[in-house]
Amino acid sequence: MEKILIEVKHLHKDYKTEDVVTSVLRDINLTIASGEFVSIMGPSGSGKSTLMHILGFLDRPTSGDYLFEGINMLEFEDDTLAAIRNERIGFVFQSFNLLPRTTVLDNVKLPLLYSRKSRDEQAAVKALESVGLAHRMNYFTNQISGGEKQRAAIARALVNNPSVIFADEPTGNLDSRSGKAVMDILQTLNEQGHTIILVTHEMDTARHGKRLVRLKDGQIVGDSAIPDRIRAHDGVELQKTK
């Protein structure tokens, strides 16, 4: 058994507006081991994005425990959480979120700016190589295609060699071919040992993972392994990193 990376117990999240309290997550219990590829699937409004934000230290739960690598993270200050995000977490967003008027390389280097460890440009170049985008590193972000943008965003998530990569609808803004390429990269990264947590509302995307967690109305309604026979393997072999 792999070591436990994420352990969530009785997690609740409420949003308060004026006098109405909306319960977004209710009694979530979830354990994710290092090296897994988990797809969190649910319709919009099911709370999957909120769960991802909490797991990624962008948000705090209303109640419950969250152990990350065995340590309760909820007691930490904002700045400590920022440092953990920087070193242990990589985010991939639906809308890429690359800086405009900036080169691909500078975008990938961005997390290094906030890092306490000193890494040089080589880390960024290596990350770009691992997603097959090294030849585009001096292009500006408005000069590359959507698929390439998402690959640049994955390289950015990889640059600090994080413990886990969160991907929030990473194929949502892509055509199906580019989408497949992006999912293949995520699968390859998983095969290389990276833990990946994917949030999506599409089964087609979700079945690239090894485990499926279904969310509905803020509660987990299903948690099972994805059998190999239905698991998507598009077979486009990417160049493996050295």
């Binding site: 990624g56 904002d78 995000r85 985010f91 900036t102 700016l113 950015r156």
Partner: protein
């Protein structure tokens, strides 16, 4: 340190990527800083000019003005008050060697504006009705002919000495000596033309004519009093004792017992310099305050544009936070950007202000003034400091606003 350089690189990049907007943003700062540089430079130039002109007069002069005024304030005549207590008899009393032993020469003045006419040409000019001692008192000399003498002064001879500019305008190149110039229909014979002197204390010394005191007082001005008396002391060391002598003489002349009731004031050049410096300093302070207001307005412009920038880049802020940027990182980034904007504005302002000051100095020198081009290092250091400070002070609010953004909200922002 790494963050510092990277922040600087990012800030410069962000500025260059929006050149038009960046230029408009810094314009207020450019104007403010250029204003400060120009005002300080012109103030220093003008002051050096006036001081050099005054010291050219000679440092052992005393001036006597009618009416009491305090040491550094302007004389009563500046406010249009006519004081008629100073007379030619006073000047004669001061010239008495027994009463004021260190006085070398005394000249009394009554002045006005007239039109001098020669044949078909005429010129509006100032006239000084004065005494034969004038050239000795004021270190001036005659270029052609001679100044009028004591006999001519005593009898009120109709003679006139022209300033060099008046002679040029009336006679062109032709000889002026011996010709008859009319003032208020009265004929005056030209007996001399003064040497060119330039301006002293903003007054063109070459644009005036000189006639004997009594003629000017009675026939042209129709008065009996004087506007001022100037006297030369044998040595600067005796200036203060002579000042006391002169005050004593005048009190006796006017029957004054208590110095509080003085109806005259005695000034030396140090006083004159003090008056001018206090006036120009006051003016400069006022102008620097105006430039300061321009900087504040420029700073508010910066704040405005930074708020727009923060709103525009909300997603970027969210992204940076998700990548591990702390509140401090975000705050510093925006402070750095506004500081860089205003620093750039400061540099442009310094260059622009220096060029304008230099141009003014060039023009002034061409016009014959001894104008010094002075850009003090202090004003440059101040300009740079103030511009960075403006950026940081007015960038604080937008920067804190950016730092406070909730990363999830920011990432969702459209």
């Amino acid at each position: 340190m790494k963050e510092f350089f990277e922040s600087f690189r990012l800030a410069v990049g962000a500025l260059l990527s929006r050149k038009g907007r960046s230029f408009l943003t810094i314009l207020g700062i450019v104007i403010g800083v250029a204003g400060v540089i120009i005002i300080v430079a012109l103030g220093a130039g003008a002051q050096s000019l006036v001081l050099s002109q005054i010291t050219n007069l000679g440092t052992n002069l005393l001036g006597i003005l009618p009416g009491k005024s305090n040491e550094t304030g302007p004389p009563a005549a500046v406010f249009g008050v006519q004081v008629t207590t100073l007379t030619a008899a006073d000047a004669a009393a001061i010239a008495d060697k027994n009463r004021a032993p260190h006085v070398m020469a005394v000249a009394a003045f009554a002045r006005g504006n007239v039109t001098a006419v020669w044949r078909d040409s005429s010129v509006d000019t100032n006239f000084s009705a004065t005494q034969a001692s004038f050239p000795r008192v004021q270190n001036v000399s005659v270029e052609q002919g001679r100044f009028f003498d004591e006999r001519e002064e005593r009898v009120g001879a109709p003679v006139i000495v022209l300033g060099s500019e008046v002679a040029d305008e009336l006679f062109g190149g032709s000889p002026a000596i011996g010709e008859v110039v009319k003032i208020k229909q009265l004929p005056f014979q030209v007996i001399g033309v003064m040497k060119k002197q330039g301006s002293i204390a903003f007054e063109n010394q070459d644009d005036q004519v000189f006639i004997p005191l009594t003629v000017g007082q009675r026939q042209i001005l129709g008065i009996n009093h004087l506007q001022f008396i100037r006297l030369k002391v044998d040595d600067a060391a005796n200036l203060q004792s002579t000042r006391g002598d002169v005050e004593q003489i005048l009190r006796e002349q006017h029957g004054i017992l208590d110095s509080d009731n003085d109806d005259f004031s005695v000034r030396d050049l140090a006083d004159a310099i003090n008056v001018l410096t206090s006036i120009t300093d006051g003016l400069r302070l006022f102008l620097v305050a105006m430039a300061g207001i321009a900087l504040v307005v420029g700073g508010i412009g910066i704040m405005n544009i930074m708020l727009v920038t923060v709103a525009e880049r909300t997603r970027e802020i969210g992204l940076r936070k998700s990548l591990g940027a702390t509140k401090g990182n975000i705050r510093n980034q925006f402070l750095f950007e506004s500081g860089t904007v205003t620093l750039a504005g400061g540099f442009v302002g310094i260059i622009f202000g220096s060029l304008v000051s230099y141009a003014v100095a060039l023009v002034a020198r061409r016009l014959g003034y001894e104008w010094a081009f002075i850009i003090s290092p202090l004003s440059i250091i101040m300009a740079v400091g103030v511009s960075i400070l403006t950026g940081i002070v007015f960038g604080l609010y937008p920067a804190f606003k950016a730092a406070k953004l909730d990363p999830i909200e920011a990432l969702r922002y459209e």
